[in-house]
Assembly symmetry: C2
Homo-oligomer: 207 residues x 2
DNA sequence: GTCTATAATGTGATAGAC
DNA sequence: GTCTATCACATTATAGAC
């Protein structure tokens, strides 16, 4: 039945996501994915011929969860401060909902840059027009207007990106060195960052 | 001979570092480590009984490359602005020299928090007195003096940490989305951050 | 200390029945 | 589509000669 087939496919992808997110490509085991999906290991191969192909499906799905919105905000034609507020808030919000994605993407991109870029291109069509250019343009506009200090837009962008992603990707590390291992406390801390990050940035660059 | 033994042990650890840093615990292969060290695979087991033990040695060595100095700066009794400048500059500098360490530590800590914390405790003696407290104290002192705005010291600390570590741990990702894949250009960009980060932070919090 | 050979197990993938 | 059984190979680890 078409519906059952679709259900199984979804069950597999959900299970595969959990395992790949936690263990990475090299640490993931097809058996564990099958167990989590409550199906036979052979069925994995029936639906996704190989571990590699299943991984690609998982990565692609993960990437689509945050990339389109992110890119849109970066190229949007709005004032810089608004762009920073919107980006930080949305970005942190998405990753509060999908906390395993940032480290997964960063790590796998390191492991095999070329292979992963192929998946990304497959996911969003093309990598040609760089969305970061949209952010740089906003920065130059404000510098010209004299509303912000002179700053290298690359530094500013990386600052913003770092403060949005790292507290999520490096959560276990941060909890280990500086916070009580209290899940709720850290979640509250992350929610506060949705406004804290943009305030911190704008404070620093506004004239 | 004692010297030869020491040499072999070092050769193994150097090779193991390269492989574990790049492939992680689960992706690393004992054969590859042996090949890189130009010795027989059995010798690995002669010197470090198991893959697990070799990994622990590598992690411990990696951790010692940055943790002692970092902790020292955080608890040092110096004014906040100086502490921020010193921390950012030293931290980024260390990781320019050892660029694979941050992602390695973050990833392996995620994979197996309890196991890794044991290694850390083994490396620095204890985790009891939290070095981040030293930073928080400096922040509260300045707030009381009225030299900086009122800010949650945890947010400030995580901002600083993020801007220091993420550009290194997430380098491949950042290069992929926003920079030309030019090694020298990015290295220059990182060196600039040694002063940019503290300027950015102090700009944001000073009254 | 260093090597060769091999054991023991884990793992991705396939064949074939139903 | 889903299962059982099994292959083929990779990988950690050990035994034993030198």
């Amino acid at each position: 039945m078409a519906i059952l087939q679709h259900e199984t496919e979804t069950k597999i992808l959900d299970a595969a996501e959990k395992v790949f997110f936690n263990k990475g490509m090299s640490g993931a085991r097809m058996q564990e994915i099958a167990d989590k999906a409550k199906i036979n290991k052979s069925l994995l191969h029936y639906y996704y011929r190989s571990k590699e192909k299943l991984f690609r499906a998982v990565f692609k799905s993960a990437f689509k969860k945050f990339a389109p919105k992110t890119i849109m905000i970066l190229v949007e034609n709005i004032p810089l401060f608004e762009k920073i507020e919107k980006f930080s808030s949305s970005y942190i919000d998405i990753f509060i909902k999908h906390p395993s994605i940032p480290l997964f993407v960063i790590y796998e991109l390191n492991r095999n840059p070329k292979g992963i870029v192929n998946i990304i291109v497959d996911a969003i069509g093309t990598m040609e027009k760089n969305p970061v250019q949209g952010f740089k343009k906003s920065v130059y506009d404000e510098i010209k207007k004299g509303t912000i200090i002179e700053i290298d837009p690359r530094q500013l962008f990386v600052n913003m990106l770092s403060m949005c992603i790292f507290p999520i990707a490096g959560r276990v590390m941060i909890e280990t060195i500086g916070f009580d291992r209290n899940k709720e406390e850290y979640n509250k801390f992350l929610k506060e960052r949705k406004t804290e990050v943009s305030k911190f940035i704008i404070n620093s660059i506004k004239k």
